[in-house]
């Protein structure tokens, strides 16, 4: 736990008051109309939604999972967060198309793009899904805050979850999107500056850039291994991946479930030292684990071997049946630690922890995804910012600039995480090293700056929860209440319904937060990557292909919900298919889903041509729209 001094509390309380007051200051503007409560009257210059894009996508869980991937994969791990680059393309394509539509939400845009019963079903479905997703996101960022407060103050998880999300709800309930976007501007500045400060401190704590480079070149080699969930003896071997020759075997060691936390702490301290101590023996040795070691079952460790005695890559296996059979720990794993500073440390075309096939998949997701709408779950908050900009051009600039800041932020974070690795290289358990960025800040910043760091964390947290509270409320109000229940509702009534929906989302997020608990990274990778996979291509097709219809899109969504669980969890657990790497899960889902929505699209009628012409004239989509364009020209609605 950390003891806050008077100066820490002083800064924390001062910044918290400033943020909440500023958010609530726009109360009078927020209550004027539905358009003000959810889109700030569509009159914002580009730099305001841009700062909101940046602030929203910097949440308390973001440094946790960026630390997780950078600690584990080195700088290469930054590519995990590269999907945000879809905005670079979207800013000039789908952002412009969406802004021209004047729809409040993605669900409303789809009712302009599609028509008839399918469109109505789709709008209801997407609105419901978005209310659920926003509640879920609020739960996961809230529990990340709970986890952090548990680490800092020793509070139970639920306290951090409830207290700090509720603070954000105060100004969202008062001012709606006006409060969100104005507070985001201020919170974005605070968050960016504290991220830079902690990263500078992290690099300094590790001895500076040159020292980091030198130490990574001198450390022994490591590979992460989660021990099997069994009491047994085990042995590890290292092989040459090209020749298959066994280079070295470890001594026999034990795996037991009866290992205390204190023993784990002592072992981690020992592993830090083993990694840092240069081995003078010429022969290759496995330095950890050895025959006196007892490892905890189902726990992450670092295997350590003397670096510079193998080729560039090694394969690592373990056996728990006296060498009768072997299971993989790592394939084509790097020798030494210098690879951590290489952005392109591939482990093969398809093999190992970072294959080229994975990288290509991420590039496609990031760059081609920008042609569509909803290809990333970030699209939905972005869509609100696009519509709040005062012109199509402002919308483009805001999305581009906000996302550029997000990518720059990740790179700044990575500096602190690499510094953390140099100081504590022996952690193999993800829940320990995921907190790296926070630990650097709370361990090394002087008194006063620690309180400011927590104020920065609060800024990060408030910016995200305020966005998702308002966004979820917008879907509930605009796409459910106003569209289906009370189309005649006046502006005052709609604003009040928006506030009621905000409050319900707040309560729902507490329940989700407690369900998610501590397994943050695995939930995030599933939600960000796999759940979006099957609808990734339909999300592009709806923008660029006139023939794609609402039934095709709806069937893709429903099929994906089932298929993603089947491919990721259910079929592998029954041994029907192997555990696929995430990029293969992505392509498998793309292919299987296409087998559903393409036949559905062709077996159902195209959307009504008049409806499509109306949409085309308003939004001017790019891609395969020739029949619709010709019809619009024939009607004299656009020039040839």
């Amino acid at each position: 736990m950390i003891t806050f001094q008077f100066l820490d509390w002083f800064w924390l309380i001062l910044f918290a008051l400033l943020m909440v007051y500023f958010g609530a200051y726009f109360y009078r503007l927020g209550k004027r109309s539905q358009s003000d409560f959810f889109l700030a009257g569509r009159g914002l210059p580009w730099w305001l939604p841009a700062s909101s894009v940046y602030a929203t996508h910097t949440a308390t869980d973001t440094p946790i999972w960026v630390a997780g991937v950078v600690y584990k994969y080195g700088l290469t791990g930054l590519w995990y967060a590269f999907f945000s680059a879809w905005c670079a393309v979207s800013a000039f394509i789908s952002t412009r198309i969406f802004r021209r539509s004047l729809a409040y939400s993605q669900a409303e845009w789809q009712s302009l793009r599609f028509g008839g019963l399918g469109s109505e079903l789709l709008r209801g479905w997407l609105a419901g899904w978005q209310v659920f997703m926003n509640m879920f996101i609020l739960g996961w960022v809230g529990i990340a805050m709970g986890k952090l407060c548990n680490m800092i103050f020793g509070w139970d998880l639920w306290i951090g979850l409830i207290v700090f999300t509720t603070i954000g709800a105060i100004y969202v309930l008062a001012s709606g999107y006006w409060g969100v976007v104005m507070a985001d501007f201020q919170q974005g500045i605070i968050a960016l500056l504290i991220i830079i400060i902690v990263s500078v401190w992290g690099v300094l704590a590790a001895g500076g850039p040159q020292e980091i480079f030198n130490r990574l070149n001198s450390y022994n080699s490591t590979a992460e291994w989660k021990t099997p969930n069994i009491n047994t003896s085990a042995i590890i071997r290292i092989k040459d991946p090209d020749s298959g020759k066994i280079l070295v075997k470890s001594q026999k060691f034990l795996i037991s479930e009866n290992i205390s936390d204190e023993k784990i702490h002592k072992d981690e301290l020992k592993i830090h030292n083993i990694i840092k101590t240069k081995n003078s023996d010429i022969e290759l040795k496995i330095l950890f684990p050895k025959n006196n070691d007892i490892l905890r079952s189902n726990y992450g460790y670092k295997i350590v071997w003397a670096s510079g005695r193998t080729g560039d890559h090694v394969n690592i296996d373990y056996s728990i049946d006296n060498e009768k059979s072997w299971s993989k720990i790592a394939v084509n794993h790097f020798d030494g630690q210098a690879w951590r500073l290489d952005l392109f440390s591939f482990t093969g075309t398809f093999e190992g922890q970072f294959p080229i096939a994975w990288f290509i998949t991420m590039m496609i997701i990031a760059l081609i995804g920008g042609f569509g709408m909803g290809t990333s779950i970030d699209w939905y908050p972005e869509a609100q910012r696009i519509q709040s900009a005062k012109s199509v051009r402002d919308a483009s600039y805001s999305i581009w600039a906000g996302s550029a800041l997000v990518l720059i932020r990740n790179a700044i974070w990575a500096g602190a995480i690499i510094g953390f690795f140099v100081i504590y290289p022996g952690l193999g358990n993800s829940s320990s090293y995921e907190m790296a960025w926070y630990k650097i800040g709370f361990d090394y910043l002087p008194v006063g700056l620690v309180g400011f760091l927590f104020a920065g964390v609060l800024a990060i947290h408030l910016s995200t929860v305020s966005t998702h509270l308002n966004l979820g409320a917008m879907y509930a109000t605009r796409d459910f209440y106003h569209h289906y229940i009370n189309p005649e509702a006046d502006e005052n009534k709609l604003v009040n319904i928006g506030r009621l929906a905000t409050f319900i989302l707040l309560l729902g997020s507490f329940i989700f937060g407690m369900i998610i608990g501590e397994e943050i990274t695995s939930w995030l990778i599933f939600a960000l990557w796999i759940m979006a996979a099957g609808v990734w291509l339909p999300n592009i097709l709806q923008v660029i292909w006139w023939r794609f219809n609402s039934w095709g899109y709806l069937s893709a969504w429903i099929a994906n919900l089932g298929l993603s669980w089947l491919i990721v969890w259910i079929l592998p657990s029954f041994g029907i298919i192997p555990d696929l790497p995430d990029y293969l899960q992505f392509w498998t889902l793309i292919f299987l889903n296409a087998l559903v929505y393409l036949p559905v699209t062709y077996l159902t009628k195209p959307e009504n041509m008049d409806h499509l012409v109306e949409y085309y004239v308003m939004c001017r989509p790019i891609g395969f729209w020739k029949p619709v364009k010709n019809e619009a020209i024939r009607k004299g609605l656009i020039k040839k």
Binding site: L18, Q186, M435, K439, L445, P446, L449
Partner: protein, 47 residues
Amino acid sequence: MNAFILYMVFQTRIGHPYLGIIIPALIFGISFILTYLLIRYFNKDKS
């Protein structure tokens, strides 16, 4: 959490204690001024 107790063993604060006053005060000042300018911008915009 477990490993955090271990980290405290290594804990060493870096930088002069005055930085805990100067840096947050500077950022608070920047944040306050920009906030004020933003409010003025929208008040002017409204009128």
